[in-house]
Symmetry: C2
C-alpha cells in the first residue's frame, strides 16, 4: 500500500504534508489516472495517523481536481495529463509508445501481422506450466547454459529433423529472446567489420537493426528467383540475410537452382556466410516444401534462424539459430560468457509442449485456420467488383499475400481513402530502400487477424476506395 | 514419435533402410544416449511397416552396439559418444558448456554467486501464474511496447519510490531480458563512439561485453571511496559504469561526497553519463542506505540499472533500467522498433508478484536467510584457528564479503590446496585488469549457497590449506 514517511513533515501539519505527498506523486505520474487510492480508514492505519488527517488531505486534493470520489467506491486519481505535460514541456506524452500498439478501431488492419490471440493453446500451455512448476523445481533453478537448456535444444533438433529434414546436433542450436537479439550475437560472432546484405524489398527492420548495431549494411535487389548474386558480388557483401522459403514481403520462393548458386557464392570466400531466416516456414499452406539452404549446405556456410513468435504468439519471445559446425566452437569460445536471455520457466514449458506433440497439433490448427481465412478473403476478392482490376501473388505461404490493384489513382490517395473507411493498407513500396521497382498500388495483405465475418464489407469498401 | 519416410528406400530392404535411418540419427546425436526408442509394435504401426521389419532393424542395431534392450522395458540408445567424437574430430564435445554449469561435488564453492534455489517462492509464483493464465488472456496476447508492459513499469516506479525514494515515471523504465541485454541497448542509445569506463577491480564480464560489442572500453582504478575521478578525466571516459551501493567485488560503499563529485564530473560535458548498477541493493544486511546517484542527480545524467535475477533466481531473466528524462524521447525515437525481450507471461507474473506485496515479503525472507548465513560463517571464522590470520571487509551488503588470509603461501598454492579439499576460492586478483594492487590471498566469499551445516569443517579445512 501507498506509504509516506512522516518523520520529516517540517513545519507542515500532518494533513498538509500528506496532501503534498499525494499531489507530488500524481504530478510525477507515480500515481496514475484512474488508480484507486486507499480507503481513508486503511490509509490512516497504515500511515499511523488519524482518519481525520486523511479526510482533510483527500478533501483538499478533491477540491483542487487531483482526485475524485465515486459514491460507495472510494477515491480515484483524476486525469492530470495536461498538468503533467505543462510541467515537462520536452517530455514525451501521447506520442510515446508506452501502452499497447494494437488499434482495435480498424474495420480491417492489413498492416498488422500479429498471431491471432484466440488461437493460442491456453489450456494445454497452462497444464504444462503447472506440471513444470510442480515437478521440475531443481532444473528450473539451475542456470541455463548460454545456448539454452539441453532438453529444449534436443527437442528442436528432433523437430527440425522431422519437419525440415535438417540433421543437426543440439550443440549447434542457440536459444535467444527473439531473432532481433540473435542478430546481435551473430554480429559479435561474425564481426563488426563485415558487410551485411539485406533484401530489397525486404523487412526494413533488419536493416535498421544492423545500422543501429553499427555494422556496414547494404541493400541488394531481387529478381524473380530472389536475391541477385551479381549485386551481392558488386556490393562486396560478406554476410547475406535472406528469407528463401517465402521472401518477405514478395512471397518469392527461391528455386533450388538459385539456392545452389547462393551456396556457391558463399563457398568462394572464407568470410562469407548466409543467414537463412525461415520465419514462417511452418505456415506454408500449399505447394511442396523446398529443402532449406541449411539442409543442402555442404560447405558449412549457413546459419539457420527461426522463431516461435510467429507460431505461438508475438508475446512469447523465443527464437533459435542453428550454427554451422565450424562456428560452434568459436561461439562458445567467444560468447559463452553471456547468459541465455530466455527464462528457464519458458524454455522448459516450450520443450515439453513440443515433445508432447502439442506443437505439431497447434501448427496444424493454425494452418487450417489461416488457409480458411486466406481462401475466404481470396474468394471475396475474386467475386467482388474489384476482380477485373486485381492481381494476386505469393498466396501459398505465410500469413500474407500481395494484392496489386490496377487503378489510375496514386497509391497515397488509395491509402488515404481506405484509411478514412477504417482499412489500413501496407504498401509494398514501404519495403524498399530507394525507388520501388514494382507496379504501384501493390499491397502486402496480412490476413491472419482480419475479421472474416466482415469480409464482403471490407472488399466492397476497398473497391469504392480505388475507383 | 520418431518417423522416417519410406518412399525413397532405394535398393535397400525395408529393415535395412530403417536400420540405416536410426543408426544415422544416433551417430548424429539426434537420438541421444539413454533415450528410449518406440516399442516394436508402436513403431511398426507408425511407420506403416510390419513388426518383423522393426524387429530385424533393432536386432542389427543391438548387435552393433548402437542400442541395447532392458527386459520388459524396451530399447534404449547406447553411449556412442566415442564414435561421435571420432566422426567429428574438430567438433566440441565434453568441453562445450552445453549442459548445466553447476558442480555439486564441492564441499564449498565460494565462486558460485547463484541465488539458492530453495528460497524461490514457488507456491506463490505458481498461484500467480495460474491466475494470470486464467484471467489475463487478452493482455497476455497483446504485444508489449518495446520498454515493457505498462503495469510492470508502473509497479516498478512505485517500488523504487518506496524502496529507494526515487521519483520516476513509468515511461523512464525499460524492461529487458537481463542487464547484459540492456547494456547493448544503452550502447545503441549513447553511441558506439563513446569511451566506456569500468571499475578496476570490477566485474570483468562488463568489460567483456563492451569489448564484444565493439566499443572503446577503459579500466579505471578505485581508491577507498570508489572510482577515481582524476583517472576518469585522464582516460577521457565519457560513460562510466559503476556499482556505488556495494562495489563489486570490493564492497566499497561510495560515500555521498564522492557521489556528488561524480555527478559534477558528468555534468561538465554534454556527452557524459553515469550507469549506476544497483545489482544487490535489496540485499543490504545492515547499515544505513545511502541515496542512489539517480535520486540526487539534478543534471539528468544517471542511468539506473537493476535486476530481478539476484533477488528471484538467476534463471529468471528480467532486468530494468531507468533512463534520465532527457534520454527518454531519443530512446523511443531510435530504439522503439525493437520488441521487448521478456515474454508477457513473465512480465505480468512479476508485476502481480510485486503489486501484491509478495516481492517485499520475499526480500525480507532472503535477507534473513543471508544474514543468518553470513553470521554463521563469520562466527565460525572468528572462532577458528584461522582467526589471527584473517581480515574481513565489505560484509554489510550483498551476498559476499572479502576475506584476506595473511599467509606466506602464494595465492596459487592456497587455491590449489583448497581445490584439492573440495573448496573453490575466488581470488580478488581475478577481478583486476593488469596488476592487482590489494594484498594477495584476498578472496571474494560468496556465501549464499554454502551448506552451513558444514561450516566448521569448511573453516578448519581452509585453515589447513593456508598454514
Amino acid at each position: 500500500m501507498l506509504t509516506y514517511n512522516f518523520e520529516n513533515t517540517g513545519s507542515d501539519s500532518l494533513y498538509m504534508y500528506l496532501y503534498k505527498c499525494v499531489k507530488h506523486d500524481i504530478e510525477q505520474g507515480i500515481l496514475t489516472t484512474g488508480e484507486k487510492l486507499p480507503s481513508k480508514r486503511r490509509f490512516a492505519k497504515n500511515l499511523g495517523v488519524s482518519i481525520i488527517t486523511v479526510e482533510n488531505a483527500y478533501a483538499r486534493l478533491t477540491a483542487e481536481g487531483f482526485i475524485y470520489s465515486l459514491p460507495k467506491r472510494g477515491f480515484y486519481v483524476a486525469d492530470v495529463n495536461k498538468r503533467l505535460n505543462a510541467m515537462h514541456p520536452d517530455f514525451p506524452a501521447a506520442s510515446t509508445p508506452i501502452t499497447s500498439t494494437v488499434s482495435p478501431s480498424y474495420l480491417a488492419d492489413f498492416a498488422n501481422n500479429q498471431t491471432p490471440s484466440d488461437l493460442f493453446p491456453f489450456t494445454i500451455w497452462s497444464k504444462i506450466v503447472r506440471k513444470i512448476l510442480n515437478d521440475s523445481r531443481i532444473p528450473l533453478m539451475t542456470p541455463s547454459p548460454c545456448g539454452g537448456i539441453f532438453s529444449l535444444r534436443r527437442t528442436i533438433a528432433h523437430y527440425v529433423k522431422e519437419f525440415r529434414n535438417m540433421t543437426v546436433l543440439p550443440e549447434q542450436i542457440i536459444i535467444g529472446a527473439g531473432t532481433e537479439y540473435l542478430y546481435s550475437l551473430l554480429i559479435q560472432l561474425l564481426g563488426h567489420d563485415k558487410i551485411y546484405a539485406v533484401e530489397n524489398p525486404g523487412y526494413q527492420k533488419n536493416a535498421k537493426i544492423y545500422q543501429s548495431l553499427h555494422v556496414p549494411c547494404v541493400h541488394v535487389s531481387l529478381d524473380d528467383d530472389g536475391i541477385r548474386i551479381d549485386e551481392l558480388e558488386e556490393k562486396q557483401a560478406q554476410i547475406v540475410h535472406i528469407t528463401p522459403s517465402h521472401q518477405y514481403p514478395t512471397g518469392i520462393i527461391m528455386p533450388v537452382s538459385r539456392r545452389y548458386e547462393l551456396l556457391g557464392w558463399a563457398a568462394r570466400e572464407k568470410n562469407r556466410y548466409i543467414i537463412e531466416d525461415d520465419y514462417d516456414s511452418e505456415l506454408r499452406l500449399s505447394g511442396h516444401p523446398i529443402p532449406t539452404l541449411q539442409s543442402i549446405d555442404i560447405a558449412d556456410k549457413v546459419i539457420y534462424l527461426n522463431t516461435f513468435s510467429k507460431t505461438l504468439s508475438s508475446t512469447v519471445r523465443i527464437s533459435y539459430m542453428i550454427l554451422p559446425k565450424g562456428l560452434v566452437q568459436p561461439f562458445y569460445d567467444r560468447l559463452s560468457f553471456y547468459s541465455c536471455t530466455v527464462s528457464n520457466f519458458e524454455q522448459y514449458t516450450l520443450a515439453s509442449f513440443i515433445e508432447d506433440g502439442k506443437f505439431e497439433n497447434h501448427i496444424n490448427r493454425l494452418r487450417n485456420d489461416y488457409r480458411h481465412k486466406r481462401d475466404t478473403l481470396l474468394t471475396a476478392l475474386n467475386e467482388s467488383p474489384l476482380q477485373p482490376y486485381i492481381t494476386i501473388s505469393g498466396e501459398n505461404a505465410g500469413l500474407h499475400f500481395l494484392l496489386t490493384i490496377h487503378t489510375p489513382l496514386p497509391e497515397k490517395e488509395v491509402m488515404l481513402r481506405a484509411q478514412a473507411q477504417g482499412i489500413r493498407l501496407l504498401p509494398l513500396s514501404s519495403f524498399y530502400d530507394g525507388i520501388p521497382t514494382h507496379e504501384p498500388n501493390t499491397y502486402v495483405m496480412n490476413y491472419a487477424i482480419i475479421d472474416m465475418t466482415q469480409v464482403n464489407t471490407i472488399v466492397n469498401t476497398l473497391y469504392q476506395c480505388c475507383m
